[in-house]
Every structure is written in structure tokens, then in C-alpha cells.
Symmetry: C3
Amino acid sequence: MLRAMQGIEPLLYGIGIAGVAAQAAAGVLDAGRKPFDLFGMVVVALAASLGGGSLRDLLLDRTVFWIADQRYLIAAVAAGLATFALVRFVRLPPRLFLLPDAIGLALFTVSGTQAALAMGAPWLVASLMGVITGVFGGIVRDVLCNEVPLVFSGELYATASWAGALTLIALGAEGVTPGWAALAAGSMVLAIRLGAIRFGWRLPVFVARG
Amino acid sequence: MLRAMQGIEPLLYGIGIAGVAAQAAAGVLDAGRKPFDLFGMVVVALAASLGGGSLRDLLLDRTVFWIADQRYLIAAVAAGLATFALVRFVRLPPRLFLLPDAIGLALFTVSGTQAALAMGAPWLVASLMGVITGVFGGIVRDVLCNEVPLVFSGELYATASWAGALTLIALGAEGVTPGWAALAAGSMVLAIRLGAIRFGWRLPVFVARG
Amino acid sequence: MLRAMQGIEPLLYGIGIAGVAAQAAAGVLDAGRKPFDLFGMVVVALAASLGGGSLRDLLLDRTVFWIADQRYLIAAVAAGLATFALVRFVRLPPRLFLLPDAIGLALFTVSGTQAALAMGAPWLVASLMGVITGVFGGIVRDVLCNEVPLVFSGELYATASWAGALTLIALGAEGVTPGWAALAAGSMVLAIRLGAIRFGWRLPVFVARG
């Protein structure tokens, strides 16, 4: 992606920061039923927005991204605090962050998969790293709120991420340039996720014969 | 173990893959009460089967084992999916995986302890790494299912692991060759765990006065 | 700190070991409502006392402190076992460990922040590492007990830690010698935490307009 899309790199960086902020804000809204104080909300915002990328970096033995560049951390804290303050005065619709969150999911999926491929990870591992980057933060958020993870039973979310990660890897193996592969994969994540929100697409649910 | 048991290495590798698959399948069965979808079940299967070894590798700063060799990951995903599909048609008895799970516990305890010793970890740390490798996956599985970890209150499980790890270390310190020490330690884990299942052996439970 | 306070280093090391033991003992008491067995209690004690420093070391890619020096691990296990045994005979008042716990919080905040600064972490990251070192163990303890983390809603705890970490960084930037900066920052953590216990200081709680 880096070489093929040199000109739009600052744009991608900005989208990345915005994606982190969106997930932090959505984290605070999702945790809103709990009687947490300011600190608890900031922790939930940080876990939701930075958790996935942190686990990816730990597993791949890379420098954790928000330690290497603390602007991600600042964006997450600021978005969490702003949401905490805003909801005292304004009623934020719960669906407000669905679009930025979906864009963040697409971007994190692509960047997580690319990071793993760049370190020589095999294809299944690389696709899983993309999914972890996009999804794990929401799992930690729900565990901290003492809830069953939402992503285990709702509309397609992780599946959109996994489909995009596999697309990215397949296109790369077919010789498509990284920039176009990233664009196609990200668009696929976004399309599946938005379709799932609009049309209620879901995975089959576990039913044990008993 | 490696030098002393050269000939049976492929066998041990196969048992390791089978142990991962058994813990993944058991993870899906254990989570069966929850209305998780396919993705949720795969995550639970991955956490249950790969969580312990992953934490060990992160703590010891080794390459995470399923990133170095993705066959473990493939085995876990495949076993999770197969169990998810099977239970729609067949009633799997919950005790079906107790024996493969116990074999996996024995193997992971031995391999976890050996990995830590090989990196120069002191004895208590090394034994704890064996226990973490065998037990931590089940703890993550239960946390994801929003349950109190089963291993905190059931029949002897972690204790079997710890006893085996300490045996392995003591035999090694006494000059027993690694292969025989591993065999003795693994057999001890298996014997204690199977005895606990059969006879209901338990640890004392916390009772606070007051 | 190291150069400026050479003479008192053994004292600081001793306080560190005592802080770990205090958090392990407090972890067992806090988990006391749960019907955990001996192993479950030891895991909770280890998570409560070693969890924060472990996450800090993983994120900063340092050798995990209790793997480098297993005396921390021994102190945590011993304190957990002793508390488990003691409560069968004596009624330990729940507030018994509040002071040692507060001293541990002050020490871990200072040492965590200093460790991050020494590795070149930017200021916000470094202060967060101090907070993680002091607070994350309690969050893991509560997650393992299937409770909402206490530190998300109780009297000032993490806030005391964060204030101290920021003070340490600000004093260092102003040219204050590390020893005095550490002393001032640690005292601030201790003062805020003890004040919060005594006077019930709290952060504002999240209230969504609906």
C-alpha cells in the first residue's frame, strides 16, 4: 500500500486517527448503561479503540502502535472524554457512530493484515491478525463491562473483517498491486458491514442437539 | 526431550496438534449454553486451545507458537467448526473430550515447562509457565462466556498440571534425562487428572470466617 | 531515582516486594465472596499483584519483572496462601490492607512511569504506564471474579495514580532530580488515595441523557 499510494498516505493516517476516535466514542456509548466514573469510561474507551491493534502488535512482537506514536492515544482519550461530557447535555443516537466505526473496521482490517504479511506471517495467521485488529477491542470492552461480547451474536461484523482480510491476501497472491488490493478489500469490509446493518445479515447461531 | 526421544518427535508433534484440536472442540461444547454465532464459537475455540500457549510465549518473549507454525491454528479452527456443525445432528456427550483434554493438559504442561527452562527461567517461574500453558486457555474461554472460571472450583485440573511441572523440574535437577523426566511428569499429570475425574478429587475451598 | 537514592535502594526493593504481597493478600480478601478453591485463589492473588506490571512490561517489550526476579512471584504466592489459610481462623477486617495497598499503588506508579520514561516513551504513554502498573491488576482480579471492575466506580484510585505519574513527569521536565521527583510523586499518590478513603472523594459518574 505504501508505495502504490504515496500521495494519499496522510489521508490514510488521518482516517486511522479518526477511526480510533470513533471506536473510543462508540465504546463510551456502549458502556453507557453501567454506572462507571470518568476513569472507568476512559479505560473502556481505550480498550475499545486500542485493544485490537495492541494485541496484534504483542502477538507479532512489533512496537505497540500507540506507544510508537502517542497521537492515537491522545485521540482515544480526547474522544472518550468528549463523549462523556457531551452525553450530559445532548442525546447522542446510538447509531451515530456506526458509519465511522465501519470505516475504522475496514481500515484496521487492511492495516492489520498488511502488517502481519510484511512480517512474513502465513496467510491464515495474517487474516486472523486483520480480524483481531478490527474486532478484539470490542471484545475487551464487553468483558470489562461484564457482558457477553456483542460481536459473538449480532449482525455480521467480524465476518466482514475476515472476508476483507482474505480478499486482500488472495488479490496480493494474484499479483494485484498492494494499493488496489487494499482498496478492494477495504471496500468489501465496508459493503458487507453496512449491508449487515441495513438488512440484518447474521451468521447461524449455535444450537446444540440435546 | 528433543535429543533423548528423537524417534518419537513426529508422534509428539501429532499429539500436540490433536491436543489443540481437543481443547478447541471442548471449548465449543463448554460454550454451548450461550447463544453465540459461528464467529463467537470459533473465537471461543481459539481462546480455549491457543490461549495458554500464547500467554506463555508472550511472557517469555518467544515467537507465538501458532504464528510460527499455523498448523496449530488450522487444527483449532477446523475442530471448532466441525464441532459447531456436528452438534446440530448428533448429541455429543459432554464427557467425550475429557480424555483427549487430559492428554493435552499433560503434553502442554511438559512442553510449557521445558520451553521456560530452556530460556533459563528459574524453577517457580518455569513450573508456572507449564501451568499457564495447560490451564490459561480455559480461563479465557470462561471469561469470554461471562462465567466464573470453571478451573477455580472444579475437580483437580491445574493442580495436576503443577504437580507434573514440579516433577519435571525436580527430575531434571536430579540428572534424569529429559525424555524420561518428560514421560514421568506427563504420566503424573494424566494420572492425577483422570483420578480426579473418576473419584471427584478437589482442593479445599475458600471459607472466610466472619 | 537510582543514582540519586543509591543508599535507599534495598529499602525500595523491600517496599516493592511488600507491595506485591499486600496486593496479593488484598486480592484473596476481595475474591472472598466467591467459592473458589486454593488454586483459584492463588490465580486471583497472582493476577491482582503481578497483572499490572506484567502488562506494562509486555507493552514496553521489557523482560517481565517476575520472570527476571522470581522473588516477586514467591512473595505473591506466599501472601495468597497465607491469607487463604488465615481467614479460616481469624476474621481479617477488609480495610486491613488499605494502607499497604496505597503504598504499593504509590510505588508501582512511580516505578512504572520511570520504566517507561527510561525507554524513551512520550509523556502521555509514560503516565499511562504508571497507571497500568498500579491499577490493571485489580481490573484483572475483578474480571476473573466475573464482577464489574471496582476501580471503575469507587473512591479515587486510578486518579491518584495518574496525578502522581503526571507530577513525576512534570518535575523531571523542570529539572528536579529523579529522587526528589519520585518522593514528591509517590507522596502525592499516597495523600490523594488516603484522602479519598477517609473523605469519600470520587469522580463524576457517567449519566447519559436519554
